[in-house]
């Protein structure tokens, strides 16, 4: 297992190098001047001063080498747009809220999605199943910006006196409730459907019949034999979804005015803030790599056969 993890971690290095290369090339390919922020033109001498200050007047390979060095020494230098801040400072301040929001949403999705799917499978084709699946279909289909707006409207505005939930912000635990639900609802619905599907399939398996035939208690059959084996597809999906929840919460962050990394990512791309885009892309690539690694480790826990296969 340790060997496996080490090998996977080593593979991260070439992956990151590729990520750097693609990001570097793509950002330089799209048009746009990081120093022209408004409709006002930038006088020539000022443009030159800015390019010199940020090393953009150097040949591309020098810039590229500087970026690679920056990534591996964890120092990507200053933002080209937020003039008093550097990439490290932005990551340090704004990654934790995104990470927290992603983790909360993921927990919400798993904690409600899996039991919902389980119950639906166990009560398949009953009114409970139909309503649970209807809810999860809606949760999956409705975009997060609409969910967010509706949640704010009802829970913070209409019933705000009773719930005590604020409309926006990220400075108290009350303020974290609505964004967590808004971001977690889609994945929750997805997990519910996934769990229901695989569970129904597992329940048909011979070993379940055997387990029941040998007189095991139903609860034990469900929790140990069925659920455990039904979770593998859920875990497979959970890795990328966790990555997505941490990195893709831009809209929810924007609507709830959460000081997360999403807003910086989107505005950095729009503003051609090369150093911030690079730093955040590498960071988010790392998040996805780690999430996938965790999934692979969990496979081994859930299904020993996969562990043996790669040992």
């Amino acid at each position: 297992m340790t060997g496996f993890i080490l090998r996977r971690l080593l593979w991260t290095i070439p992956v990151i190098l590729l990520v750097i290369l693609f990001t570097f090339v793509l950002m330089r390919q799209i048009e746009g001047n990081p120093f022209r922020r408004s409709e006002r033109s930038v006088p020539e001498s000022i443009q030159q001063n800015l390019e010199r200050k940020y090393g953009l007047d150097r040949p591309w390979y020098v810039q590229y080498a500087k970026v690679v060095k920056g990534v591996f020494t964890f120092d990507l230098g200053p933002s080209l747009v937020l003039r008093n801040r550097d990439v490290n400072d932005i990551v340090r301040t704004h990654f934790p809220p995104s990470l927290e929001l992603g983790a909360l949403a993921m927990t919400f999705a798993l904690v409600f999605g899996i039991p919902l799917g389980m119950l639906s499978a166990l009560k398949a084709n009953t009114i409970f199943d139909y309503s649970a699946m209807f809810i999860s279909n809606v949760g999956f289909a409705v975009p997060s910006f609409l969910v967010s707006t509706l949640l704010i409207y009802f829970f913070a505005l209409q019933w705000g006196e009773w719930t005590g939930l604020p409309t926006s912000g990220w400075d108290s635990w009350e303020s974290k409730v609505l964004p967590t639900i808004a971001l977690g609802l889609g994945p929750m619905a997805y997990f519910a459907r996934l769990t229901r599907g695989t569970m129904l399939e597992t329940l048909q398996q011979d070993y379940i019949r055997t387990a029941r035939a040998k007189g095991l208690r139903w609860r034990r059959v469900v929790v140990v034999h069925t659920l455990r084996n039904s979770l593998i597809p859920v875990v497979t999906a959970a890795g990328p979804i966790l990555g997505f929840l941490i990195t893709g919460s831009f809209i929810v962050e924007q609507i709830f005015a959460i000081p997360g990394i999403g807003a910086y990512y989107v505005t950095a791309v729009t503003a051609r803030d090369y150093s911030v885009v690079m730093g955040l892309t590498v960071l988010l690539a790392l998040v996805v790599i780690i999430a996938n690694l965790v999934v692979d480790i969990l496979y081994g826990v859930l299904d020993p056969r996969t562990r043996d296969a790669r040992a």
Binding site: S45, R52, F155, W162
Partner: protein
């Protein structure tokens, strides 16, 4: 082995149950509400200020905060934004020399006095190529500034040549390259605020953080949680602190217009932030509220024409005549903007003299006349590419214009581009495929020169490929004309050259912007936004709700 696994499942289920309880209780309790009173208000700054360094700030959010934590040499007050004394108790203009006399009681929050040397050092710092300030060009009217900004070697010597001199602790002398009647007004811009040298030298780029910053204005930076909140507290030792009613200004950063309105309605903020505006789809409802506030803004929304692609002036006139400005304002923009009558926006000093009230810029479309002019066009351009940026609202206006121009037999293709790409395609010169582009201009200082000098032949902001030497000559003449009335006449002649009966029409102005926001009734009477979109928090007084103008 199996036992431990099922135990683990048990733990998981337990955690699940705990989470559920947590979420349910979350929906139940809590009563953290309560109207702020006694000099504490909560505003919405709208977004994170990119920098609170006066030398580096370029946007309105930054300037709104800076103007309240720093002490400018002079302020622009009243309807016409007349310069009134701030840290400078007086100033005198003598040809190309401007001399400011500083008050004796100005000081920094660490106790140091504010001196003329502070200004000299700060201004030269902003001009210096090392700082690479975007707005260094604000100083290019000062002798030696442009040269110093572009210097490659001997920069120190060139810094000494810059025409900013602290004659003594309280006298600042500025040498201009020419008479610039608007220079005194221009000094109210945040670029001209001083910074505290020892602090800047000690902390480098981090000097603007709340823990480090030293300021000299009516409020102090109490908290800066990036992209979340900026709170200001009254600085009791400011020279006029006795006149400041507010004790504390908490500030959120809610960029989403709908959320800002919801936060206002939930009582979390006392105003929605004028800069983000209000969501147009909600405006019909919000306009009826007593908290609705609308102020004019020194800004023009216009379409520019690539005159190389649309060379016939009659076609440009026809296109402008066909636009129904009233309909665009009432049905799309919806914030009671004013139909444009020229390029210089309403509210500009001398507006009545300057604006051409052009027959080609009708409030409601004059389709008959437009068709008549269009029929005189030798080779009409019937396929037009209209380039807009992807900010909200522009597409809707473009679609309406597409419809209006269809009546002239013009087929419009709307090309929507992301901001940075859009700016690249503007040029100058504009991309060859661009026939018409959307743009806006927001004033930096209160003189029509700030709008009209955009259209000289070699201007970096002239994206129309249009060049009229007569126009350029008028701009030069106006730069040398210190007397306001005479200068306004010249501005009026420039507008005539564009929009008069024989005008060139390289631009199709559509409307003059307004700012709309919601403000708690208790502050509405005093929470005034001036034409440059700035709010002076020293003037804000909390009254009883419902009673304006206490």
């Amino acid at each position: 082995m199996k036992g431990t696994r099922s135990k683990r499942t048990g733990v998981l289920l337990g955690v699940a149950a705990a989470m559920l309880v947590l979420l349910v209780t979350a929906c139940a309790g809590g009563d953290e509400q309560g109207e702020a009173a006694d000099g504490v208000i909560t505003v919405n700054w709208g977004s994170e200020p990119p920098s609170l360094d006066p030398g580096l700030a370029t946007d309105t959010t930054s300037s709104n905060i800076l103007n309240n934590i720093m002490d400018p040499l002079l302020k622009l007050e009243g309807e016409n934004l007349e310069p009134t004394p701030g840290l400078a108790e007086s100033w005198e203009v003598n040809g190309t020399t401007v001399t400011f006399r500083l008050r004796q009681d100005g000081k920094w929050t660490n106790g140091d006095p504010v001196t003329a040397q502070d200004f000299e050092w700060s201004w030269k710092r902003t001009i210096s190529p090392d700082l690479a300030a975007d707005y260094a060009y604000q100083f290019f009217g000062i002798v030696g500034a442009a040269d110093y900004n572009s210097c490659k070697q001997n920069c120190d010597a060139m810094a000494d040549e810059v025409g900013v001199t602290a004659v003594d602790d309280s006298t600042l002398r500025v040498e201009l390259t020419s008479q610039q009647p608007w220079f005194v007004q221009q000094v109210a811009h945040t670029s001209f605020l001083p910074v505290h040298r020892p602090t800047v030298e000690q902390f480098g780029e981090k000097w603007t953080e709340a823990a480090n910053i030293v300021t000299n204005g009516p409020f102090q930076l109490d908290t800066w949680q990036h992209n979340s909140r900026i709170d200001l507290v009254k600085w009791p030792e400011w020279r006029n602190a006795q006149d400041v009613a507010l004790e504390r200004v908490n500030g959120r950063m809610i960029s989403e217009g709908t959320t800002a309105v919801q936060a206002f309605e939930a009582g979390e903020v006392d105003e929605t932030g004028a800069l983000g505006g209000l969501p147009p789809e909600e405006l019909p409802r919000l306009k009826g509220l007593p908290e609705y506030e609308q102020t004019p803004s020194l800004a023009t929304y216009y379409y520019g024409v690539n005159t190389k692609n649309v060379p016939d002036v009659n076609q440009r006139r026809a296109m402008s005549l066909a636009i129904d400005r009233r309909s665009i304002i009432d049905n799309i923009a919806q914030a009671d903007q004013l139909p444009a009558t020229g390029f210089t926006p309403s509210g500009m000093p001398g507006f009545d003299t300057i604006t051409p009230n052009s027959e080609y810029l009708p409030e409601t479309a004059d389709v008959e006349r437009a068709k008549e002019l269009m029929s005189q066009v030798q080779d009409p351009v019937t396929d037009i590419t209209l380039v807009i940026n992807d900010a909200p609202g522009h597409r809707e206006i473009a679609v309406a214009v597409q419809d209006m121009w269809r009546e002239l037999g013009i087929d419009v293709e709307i090309q929507q581009q992301e901001w940075a790409q859009f700016l690249e395609s503007l040029g100058p010169p504009p991309a060859a495929s661009t026939d018409v582009y959307r743009n806006g201009w927001v004033g930096d200082y209160v003189d029509a020169m700030n709008f009209l000098e955009l259209w000289t032949c070699d201007s970096g902001n002239n994206n129309t490929n249009h060049c009229n030497e007569e126009y350029d000559a008028l701009v030069d003449e106006a730069r040398q004309t210190p007397e306001n009335g005479e200068r306004y006449e010249l501005y009026g002649q420039m507008e005539e050259l564009f929009f008069g009966p024989e005008g060139d029409m390289p631009l199709i102005p559509i409307y003059f912007y307004t700012n709309v926001s919601l403000q708690r009734e208790s502050i509405k009477g005093t929470f005034d936004q001036n034409l440059l979109d700035q709010i002076d928090l020293t003037k804000v007084v909390e009254g009883d709700a419902g009673e304006e103008d206490v």
